[in-house]
Amino acid sequence: MNHVELSFKLNGQDISIQILPNTLLVDLLRDRLGLTGTKTGCRQGECGVCTVLLDGDPVNSCLLPAVKVAGRSVTTIEGLATEDGRLDIIQERFISEGAVQCGFCTPGMIMNAKALLDREASPSETDIKKAISGVLCRCTGYRKIVQAVKSASEAKE
């Protein structure tokens, strides 16, 4: 198989990389680019822990051939903090509200919450639940996750 050149915007920076065309985005991010904040769980679109933002919309990076992101913008959990290391308000509130248990679903939860808060300044509890409905938390700590997102939205106002 021949390598192809893939260019896209990753966490605000333009990058170009040679990849095999059968690479899935999650493996490109984790194995080639070292961005292991994005997790792999089920690898078939059922758990949502691999969620990244594609042009601002949440998608399962385990289902996305990496070539599909050519010319587009991808944001991972590593792209949320500012360059000087200041966390995003959602990350801060996940910590202060105790919304992290084993932590495996946390990047997926936060990326979906980020997409929601970027388009909806003051979401209702139902909006929040819908926004995170594509991520499974097997510690079943949903209550505090919803609270953390609510708290982040209120802090943003």
Partner: protein, 307 residues
């Protein structure tokens, strides 16, 4: 369970040699012809990628059609609604036009998988999967939709009632053809519709039962003029309850008609028993309950509620 072990044997990568991104329909068909059955069309990929990794599907090349021009979007043409083959579930679920004039399709599209999957998965792909529980198949069947299938030889339009052939098998050959358009009549004032879905969870799950119906009524005679009733998964293909529909034509709008329809839809269905998704007896009961509830809801919306 042996099935669980099978999942661990999935390969990480997808076993393909080429991934091609044509810029026009003509170019897509040229590539498909060149591979002569060894390449497969991919759009959103939420169905194709797991199947490839599962070795349920084996191809040399994928032909990604997401860059084809003029294939996405929803528009109105006279009394018809036309949906481009690349339109995603999210676009359908959020469309004011679909919500107003074919609400059951917006409801169905909004139930598929998760927000992340709905952002990527196309409605055409949902139909092409041929899954009897596909979330948009049932409402589109009730809306009497037809699909345009395009190939190098030209295009053909077939009603969705002739599209589903068997579980996972449709009239479309995705190594040669592309579903370019979905089309159906917008609901009229004397029509009502309903969509009901039973599932173990509200998200990230395949439905135990989906019911969708469109009824057309004659207000002056308090009579049903026509009805389309679709269900899934109660047979190898998404089912239209045609015998019940025929019996409903000209029937008076009352409880007796609805009770009879429920028994009749149940007789037309053939749900399988499943240790996870429920016994056949349970599903038959739900089919009756959903038929009654769904018909009442649709009749109420049409302006002829049943007391």
């Amino acid at each position: 369970m042996s099935y669980a072990f099978k999942d661990y044997q999935w390969s990480k990568d997808i076993a393909i040699k080429e991934y091609l991104l044509p810029r026009s329909l003509a170019e897509a068909f040229e590539i498909l012809a060149k591979y002569n059955g060894k390449a497969q069309v991919i759009a959103g990929g939420t169905d194709v990628i797991p199947r490839l990794r599962h070795r349920d599907l084996e191809v040399e090349a994928l032909v990604d059609i997401t860059h084809l021009p003029d294939m996405s979007g929803i528009r109105e043409e006279a009394d018809k609604i036309v949906i481009g083959g690349l339109t995603t579930h999210r676009q359908i679920a959020a469309s004011p036009l679909i919500r107003e004039k074919a609400g059951i399709l917006a409801d169905g599209a909004g139930c598929l998988g998760s927000p992340q999957i709905r952002n990527i998965a196309t409605v055409a792909g949902n139909l092409v999967s041929g899954h009897p529980a596909a979330d948009t198949s049932t409402p589109l069947l009730a809306l009497n939709a037809s699909v345009t299938i395009t190939s190098q030889e030209g295009e053909r339009v077939i009603p969705l009632t002739e599209f589903f052939l068997d579980k996972g098998k449709t009239a479309l050959d995705c190594r040669r053809e592309i579903l370019t358009q979905i089309r159906f009549a917008a609901l009229k004032k004397n029509q009502g519709s309903s969509h009901l879905r039973l599932s173990k969870r509200r998200s990230l799950t395949v439905a135990v039962l989906i019911f969708a119906a469109v009824v057309e009524v004659d207000h002056t005679q308090n009579m049903i003029k026509a009805a389309q009733i679709a269900l899934g998964p109660v047979a190898p293909i998404p089912l239209r309850a045609t015998k019940t529909e025929a019996a409903l034509r000209g029937a008076p709008i009352n409880n007796e008609t609805i009770e009879r329809a429920a028994e009749s839809v149940c007789r037309e269905s053939n749900p399988i028993a499943d240790p996870v998704w429920g016994s056949a007896e349970y599903k038959e009961e739900i089919i009756k309950v959903f038929t009654k509830r769904g018909l009442k809801k649709a009749l109420k919306q049409a302006g002829t509620p049943v007391e």
